[in-house]
């Protein structure tokens, strides 16, 4: 179709491109510039008070024990919650895809419900579920003779508790994508395998998993990107404690930038986060490419 009308192009593409350019690309570039300055509370009133300090924010970051703690916590969270939520999602999707299951819609809806609900609200609910004395979790575990645990107050358990809640909150989303992926696998593959006497496990290993590689790659990347941005759960449930054991990178960035107004430093944290996410995406793409050709 021929359409080289410049006026129409400006009218249709202009508003969105202008908005994205001014309120997305310019901020990204500015953040990069700010990360090389000492922009702080004094610069807030008058931007010219900020001076270029080269790489000092970044070098300082690498010597900042609190940043390493935040990085370590976030990595721990991503490495634990990421694979766990992918596995739970796949498991749920396969169960719901089983031919003998009826009322699929109701089960799917139940598992999906946490996804659409407001994170802040459910984080508050879970905070009380984890209550050491009155919480539902300790009550349930009591039936199995487990002694009460102060989930959010114990440095060892606080992050795993946040992991559990996050997996509960998110697995429904990936489950839906996995269901779509499973439905895309031609059923004659399974029929042929059944005729040849392949067991359920063999079918899973040599049909389901390989056919799901693209879906799994997509899911692992979006899950990882989302989990690296961990913020609201610790903000509500632990405020980063106990002993900074749940302090996340985004939370540290938020504190430095918007509580102490160390914006130069905070921008550097944001870029390190971006770099890590970028690296994670590249590594996962690489691994899965290898898997595909193996």
């Amino acid at each position: 179709m021929k359409n080289n009308n410049l006026k129409a192009l400006i009218i249709f593409l202009g508003p969105a491109m202008l908005a994205i350019f001014v309120f997305f690309f310019i901020p990204v570039i500015s953040a990069f510039v700010i990360s090389f300055t000492d922009f702080d509370i004094y610069s807030l009133g008058n931007f010219s008070n900020a001076r270029f300090i080269g790489l000092r924010n970044y070098t300082q970051l690498f010597e900042d024990p609190l940043f390493w703690t935040a990085l370590q916590n976030t990595l721990f969270f991503v490495i634990l919650a990421g694979p766990l939520s992918v596995c739970v999602s796949l498991f749920a999707a396969m169960l719901l895809n089983a031919k003998l299951v009826k009322f699929k819609g109701i089960f799917r809806l139940s598992y999906f419900m946490p996804v659409v609900t407001t994170l802040i609200a459910v984080a508050i609910v879970w905070r009380f579920i984890y209550h050491p004395r009155f919480g539902l979790l300790n009550y349930l575990l009591g039936f199995f003779h487990v002694n009460p645990v102060d989930w959010l107050g114990d440095p060892f358990w606080a992050m795993p508790a946040i992991v559990l809640m996050s997996v509960w909150k998110n697995f429904g989303y990936n489950m839906i994508i996995f269901i779509a992926g499973l439905n895309n696998i031609p059923s004659d593959l399974y029929e042929a395998a059944t005729i040849e006497g392949a067991s359920w496990w063999q079918q899973f290993r040599s049909i389901t998993l390989p056919m799901l590689v693209p879906t799994t790659l997509f899911i692992s990347i979006i899950t990882m990107i989302g989990y690296f941005q961990l913020f609201a759960e610790p903000y509500i449930m632990t405020q980063g404690g106990p002993l900074n054991k749940t302090l996340s990178i985004v939370q540290y960035m938020y504190q430095e930038g918007f509580r102490w107004w160390n914006m130069g430093y905070s921008a550097a944290i944001a870029f390190v986060l971006f770099f890590i996410i970028f690296l994670g995406t590249v590594i996962q793409t690489f691994i899965q490419k290898k898997l595909k050709h193996a």
Binding site: A16, S30, L95, R127, I177, T215, F218, I277
Partner: protein, 269 residues
Amino acid sequence: MKKVFLYLFLSVSAILTLAPFFWMISASLMADGHASVYPPRFFPDVTTLIQFQTLFTRLNALSNFFNSLILSLLVTTVSLLFNSMAGYAFAKFRFSGKDKLFTLLLSSMIIPAQVTMLPLFLMLKEMGFINTYMAIVIPGLANIFGIFMIRQYALSIPDSLLESARIDGATDFQIYWKIILPLCTPILVTLALFTFLGTWNDFLWPLIVLTDNSMYTLPVALANLMGEHTKDPELMMAGSVVTIIPVVIVFLALQKYYIKGIMMGGVKE
């Protein structure tokens, strides 16, 4: 036998998944202190709406509710307009550099929003928009994911349809308004749903740019309340119910579109 086991497992998992919501609703209907008991109560011993009353009278949650509602509707409407126009242009216009521009947009989706937050805050501060609705609307005017979704959908509309409309004398705007938009209705509903829920549920950005209780959206108000009422689970549960109920209703009404939207995003690869 296998079937019974499967159903049992599915049902138990469904009950466990929904249990937090059940307890939330139940506790929101209890009087002060009645949720802090051992063993936990699954049903209120005495049902009362006192928590909701406190919320809406003393704590002024109604204004927070309206902030959330108006902002979500506003962002949804404006971004739908901008995204659909751009999506149409990317799908059907021919211009030099189109593919490059589109690739640039797509690859920049990997940049986490947190990177933009500091400069965006400073920009909005200079414009005098901090603590106003504009602070939420402006960053939500258009988004790359939305443009992408609409473009993918609009690509499937046959060019011949647009050609014949043009021969009949339709302008670009008429084509967009009378052909593209109606044919794109399913994806528009999906996107509207994503945007509405996304704006309603958003936390970090509203927390940064809204500084006054009367301007807070529900999640920010709730987080703020949590700081003061850590020991009032009943009140906090009522607040959570008020925050969650609208999104659940919207979702249940349009869930088909939501699920389809996720599947589209997921299978594209």
